[in-house]
């Protein structure tokens, strides 16, 4: 369990490293242009995307024989698959909630089960029709009873890695509430009708057809409801990808 613990200091160190990584391999001028274009267009893009997003519109569901298990590629930060002790695993839900949760795997499996067979889309351009099984995230949020101020959901994972200074940090993401309560957004523990493999995020990962792959955090350990998007909005987001990442 101590592997899963991270301090605020390590989180800050990751932010610094993120900026360093985002800056390397590209010229300063190029970086400035790209930041300017992003700063100018992202508020518009984000507003437009949230405007056309329908929380009730379901993504296409596929038949079992349309699943192509080989097409789902593995992208893990720093190629490090974490070790998660299943007996000690707990999913905590806290922040702006009236009823904070501390769920074991058994508790999670006791919640309503849902299966979706959807198209997973990666920011790189590939797709993978995949079956996911688990509990709709909305069920967990309902149980936690969000307060009226809760507008975003921050996820933290056990996807740990060690940076140059030996500091350990992890993968994290922030979603808008509308995408979290979408009926096809799952906390999944099953992939293609089998228990979720560790490299795909076991024991629990986010799986949804309405966000790009980098938003679908694996090895989820903490869910924190917040009022605003935190400065550290997401692992890849802090490295320069757009925050909304919706499809």
């Amino acid at each position: 369990m101590s592997d899963l613990m991270r301090t605020r200091r390590n989180f800050l160190a990751l932010g610094g490293m993120g900026m360093l990584l985002a800056g390397c391999g590209r010229g300063a001028i190029q970086g400035n242009i790209e930041n300017t274009l992003y700063t100018l267009s992202d508020p518009l893009n984000r507003t437009f995307e949230q405007l056309i997003f329908s929380p009730t519109k379901l993504a296409q569901e596929f038949r079992a024989n349309e699943v192509n298990p080989k097409s789902l590629l593995i992208n893990t930060a720093e190629d490090n698959t974490p070790t998660v002790n299943l007996d000690q695993y707990r999913l905590t839900v806290k922040g702006l909630v009236n009823n904070p949760l501390n769920l074991s795997l058994r508790d999670i499996r006791a919640l309503p089960y849902k299966s979706t067979t959807i198209r997973h889309i990666c920011v790189e351009g590939w797709d993978a029709i995949t079956q996911w099984g688990g509990v709709p995230l909305v069920e967990v949020l309902k149980k936690a009873q969000p307060t009226s101020e809760a507008r975003y959901v921050f996820f933290r994972s056990a996807d740990g890695f060690v940076n140059d200074q030996g500091q350990r940090s992890g993968y994290y993401e922030t979603w808008d509430m509308a995408s979290c309560v979408h009926p096809q957004t799952l906390l999944a523990y099953e992939k293609n009708k089998k228990p979720l493999p560790i490299e795909n995020g076991a024991p629990i990962r986010l799986a949804s057809p309405i966000k790009l792959g980098y938003k679908q955090i694996k090895w989820v350990t903490e869910i924190i409801l917040v009022a605003t998007i935190p400065t550290q909005a997401g692992y890849w987001v802090d490295l320069g990808y757009e925050w909304y990442g919706g499809v």
Binding site: I52, A59, Q60, E124, W126, G240, Y241, V247
Partner: protein
Amino acid sequence: MTTAKVNGVAKRPSGFQQALAAKIFHWVNIISVFAMMGSGLQIYNANPVFGGRAGLHFPSELLLGGWLGGARHWHFFFMWFFGLNLLWYGIYIFFTKRWKNRYVGSNDIKAIRESSNAKRRNYAFHRIVYTSMIPILLLALLTGLGMFKPVQFDWILGIFGSWEALRIMHFISVPIFLVLTTLHSLMALKVGEWKLVRSMFT
């Protein structure tokens, strides 16, 4: 611009004059399309449509944005200029009734078949070329929207049948556009020499 017009009129009574709207459309379109192509090829390189990660990658000289995330920022900045430019120009063409005689018609087809006048035939060929650019630009826009929002605009994915087909059609619009742009430029030179090309941009 005023000077150019004055010069054009002063030097040649038959000098070409283009509507300001047509000039603005051409400028915005050429800049945004090339920005979309450069950043699009950079995005393509993250996972080539043909062959996946092991597929053929485009050389860095043709790319804009430096890396996948940067290229996406370019692409999703210029998409507004590219898309809205097509939209307002379409509305303009419609309400000014330019669509009636600015684009290829049966008289052009007839001229190509029957006319022995080389100038008339060239004119007709040119009208075919630039008219056919419109569906290609709309194809690029439609397939792009389909990949940008495959769930919200799932009807676009429905038209093309599969994600792979959508990606291929979006990609294919680039070489087709380049060929048509080259032909459009060459035909414009043939029909009206450099002063016709210049009249569209100044």
